[in-house]
């Protein structure tokens, strides 16, 4: 048994050192970072922990399919919508965004570091249906709301949400014919012209260019009406036949041009989306929370270490070493999985430290009882661990049940803060079953086999 224990001891200490290495905020070797990243030729930076929105600052938006009552939701349509939303979010240049499907009809979007989300949200959730329509001799200008073949009730819908829109709809009862849609676009980019006015440059696909060429060739001198989601973007007059790229001008600000270009680039959403939940946390609030948690955590941890030392003396010291290993393991797991750390997540972690200590307390109290009953030190140690195990196992399992329920709740309602707490607590409980029992026992056995005599002679070292 002695040799087995030595092997285990060495293994645990190696794991401890490895975890410390991963946990520290230093640069890690490239091969490790590449191994952790999902795709080819990418790497994941594990210098720092992944922080949630409430610590970093940012916005979380919950989008829901905006369909009439009772209309069934097509799962494929939702997946496509999710992909398009994701592309748009990436197009906005948000770093480390997160887009997930939630349930059957919702998409949750996380935009870290975006503190003025209104324009971003607008870009993301607009349907983005681009159409070129036949004006049929009517005069249409930018800002008009019109009905088209693909959106026959655009005017009605616009007026329903904002009655003032009726002023922008000169032909509320006409439906204009859609001659081409956004499918013909290859790419769209926002840029500035020689007068520093923002415009959108677009290029066409192979099929698209022949379609476009045909149309423009046959309508020279007439306006080309470009409509997005039922609203006229601009209606320039066609001067010559166009077959590969063109420009859309209008009174655009840089964000508007960028947003429109993004919508055109990735295509229309197959399902209209509406915003049902928005949360924004400013970065200043986030930073304050991080600083405070760090201070509190260090102080709390120090007090616990001291407490164990005073109450259980030598075994307490060994438990403190196991506890430090525990903290290192946790942080290493957060970096490796990765686990996104939120404020309640930090709370869950600190609480799990309390539970890890509880396991040790159970073991040591049992050891003391056995010693008082007159058993030998070695037997008392072994009995302490084995007899305390059922209580530790059952207690921890019930905490894990709570975590599972919390996780399900957080997952289904975009409450990632609740989810974060459940994950860190669960990781902590699982790891604590390992360190509190396995690691501490290994340390105790190793200590006994080398210094057992001293322990026998000095009861004060155990504290009973």
């Amino acid at each position: 048994m002695r040799n087995n224990n030595t092997v285990t001891l060495v293994a645990i200490l190696l794991l401890f050192v490895a975890s410390l290495y991963i946990a520290l905020p230093i640069d890690h070797p490239l091969w490790l970072e590449e191994a952790l990243a999902p795709g080819e030729n990418t790497q994941r930076d594990i210098r720092n922990l992944t922080l949630g929105l409430d610590l970093k600052g940012g916005t979380q938006v919950l989008l829901e399919a905006d369909l009439p009552e009772g209309q069934a939701i097509d799962a494929d349509a939702m997946s496509t919508a999710k992909v398009i939303v994701e592309q748009r979010v990436n197009g906005l240049g948000v770093s480390e965004p997160n887009v997930q499907l939630q349930g059957e009809n919702r998409i949750i979007v996380e935009l870290p570091g975006v503190s003025n989300p209104d324009q971003a949200i607008n870009t993301i959730r607009s349907t983005g249906q681009l159409e070129f329509i036949e004006p049929a001799g009517e005069r249409l200008t930018g800002g008009n709301i019109i009905n088209t073949t693909n959106r026959p009730d655009a005017v009605k819908r616009a007026v329903a949400t904002d009655p003032a829109a009726v002023a922008a709809a000169p032909f509320p009862d006409r439906t204009f014919e859609t001659v081409m849609t956004g499918d013909i676009l290859q790419n769209a980019v926002a840029s500035q012209d020689e007068y520093n006015q923002w415009q959108i440059q677009f290029s066409l696909t192979g099929d698209g260019s022949s379609q476009f060429f045909e149309y423009t060739r046959n309508h020279i001198g007439q306006p080309l009406v470009i409509v997005l989601d039922g609203r006229v973007l601009s209606a320039p007059v066609i001067n010559a036949a166009i077959n590969d790229n063109g420009v859309i001008t209008g009174q655009f600000s840089s964000e508007e041009a960028d947003g429109l270009a993004i919508q055109m680039r990735y295509g229309a959403l197959p399902v209209p989306l509406k915003v049902v939940d928005v949360r924004t946390i400013g970065a200043s609030l986030g930073q304050d929370s991080v600083d405070a948690s760090l201070t509190a955590g260090i102080i709390g941890m120090a007090m616990v270490l001291l407490f164990m030392l005073v109450l259980y003396r030598l075994p307490g010291l060994l438990a403190d070493v196991a506890l430090s290993a525990y903290v290192a393991f946790n942080i290493a797991i957060y970096k490796l999985l990765p686990v996104t750390l939120t404020l309640p997540g930090i709370a869950g972690f600190l609480l799990s430290i309390g539970m890890a200590v509880d396991a040790n307390i159970l073991i040591f109290e049992r050891m003391k009882e056995e010693l008082r009953a007159g058993r030998s030190v070695r037997l008392a140690v072994e009995t302490g661990f084995s007899r305390a195990w059922p209580a530790i196992r059952d207690g921890n399992l019930s905490t894990l049940i709570s975590c599972a329920v919390l996780y399900w709740f957080g997952n289904n309602f975009g409450a990632s803060i609740v989810k974060g707490f459940a994950i860190t607590l669960a990781v902590g409980v699982l790891l604590s079953m390992f360190t509190a029992v396995f690691a501490t026992r290994t340390f105790m056995r190793a200590f006994l086999s080398t210094q057992g005599q001293r322990l026998l002679d000095n009861r004060g070292l155990i504290g009973y």
């Binding site: 829901e64 400013g282 509190a296 309640p344 869950g348 307390i361 207690g395 049940i401 919390l406 309602f413």
Partner: protein, 315 residues
């Protein structure tokens, strides 16, 4: 010391602790319509925190919202510096937010948006239902697990039920605490409160299981003894551990409450009260309930010390 025989005292203390919560819930239901003061996570709505460069009067800011068509807006200051205003109204969509935001800037100048949340009403009620479901599901799962884990002990379901009763007690004590704090400091029940409740449930059951585990062992070891005696012995044997664990958890929580920043303070305080209640309920509610069930007597009979000497426990 005979704990289980004094259970009349312990049960009375528990009732006193729960009573404020129950009374509050009845009163709140009658006056406001919901049993508890709910935050927008459950009711839906908008919560907008703006920090201006100059001190502003909340009523002035509120006026802009009223003019935009939201007379049910409430506004109040959140910091002592007089520049940070928090507004609550029903949920609005991004276009309405843009319009109102522009109007506020026009009247008061730029503001730093500290936080903004707008939750649609359907989401709010979904979350409430799910929260309730979560608490019930967790309790049922735990009941089943305990009954399974204690299957070798006679009447395992009694242990499970006693644990659930202790757990329900803890939830109500926590609610009592938040109710009092609502009257004193305007605390509300938000998603984090649910997190606190589920954590308290987990820890309370943890404590209860430790005691029941000892009872399981002692019942096996001391077969001849009366049930109450065995229970008492188990309680006293585990007392040291219960206190140590409670102190450890409290050390961490108190550190977090003092140094951990305002955002988590409510959450941590709720957890602290819940955890203390959890330890109390495991020792003074769960175990005595099992004894009461076994003896078919709700309250114990306190026997004078001389006769009780036979239940002295090894020191």
């Amino acid at each position: 010391m005979n704990l289980v025989e004094r259970r009349k005292l312990w049960f009375s203390i528990s009732v006193i602790a729960i009573l404020p919560g129950i009374l509050f819930m009845i009163w709140h239901m009658a006056t406001v319509g919901t049993p508890l003061p709910l935050a927008i996570d459950y009711t839906g709505g908008t919560q907008w925190e703006m920090r201006f460069e100059q001190p502003v009067a909340p009523t002035d800011v509120r006026q802009i919202f009223v003019e935009a068509g939201f007379p049910d807006t409430s506004a109040f200051l959140v910091n002592e510096d007089g520049r940070t205003v928090q507004l609550k109204l029903k949920s609005i969509d991004p276009d309405q937010k843009d319009t109102i935001g522009a109007a506020v800037i026009a009247r008061f100048g730029n503001f730093d948006e500290r936080s903004y949340r707008s939750i649609g009403p359907t989401i709010g009620s979904e979350v409430s239902r799910a929260a309730l479901l979560a608490v019930i599901a967790a309790s049922v799962l735990i009941l089943i697990y305990i009954a399974f884990a204690f299957r070798e002990v006679p009447h395992p379901f009694r242990f499970g039920t006693a644990a659930i009763l202790a757990l329900v007690h803890d939830v109500f004590v926590t609610i009592s605490f938040v109710s009092i704090m609502n009257l004193v400091a305007g605390w509300e029940i938000d998603a984090l409160f649910l997190t606190a409740v589920l954590t308290v449930i987990g820890f309370s059951v943890n404590d209860t299981i430790v005691i029941f585990d000892r009872m399981r062992e002692n019942l096996h070891r001391h077969r001849g003894e009366a049930f109450a005696t065995v229970t008492n012995r188990s309680l006293l044997e585990t007392m040291q551990r219960s206190i140590s664990t409670q102190v450890t958890a409290m050390l961490i929580l108190v550190a977090l409450i003092i140094f951990g920043g305002a955002t988590l303070r409510i959450f941590m305080s709720t957890l602290l009260v819940g955890l203390i209640s959890g330890t109390y309920s495991s020792i003074f509610n769960a175990a005595p309930v099992v004894v009461a069930w076994e003896e078919r007597k709700l309250f114990g009979t306190v026997v004078p010390e001389t006769q009780a000497s036979s239940v002295a426990v090894r020191a």
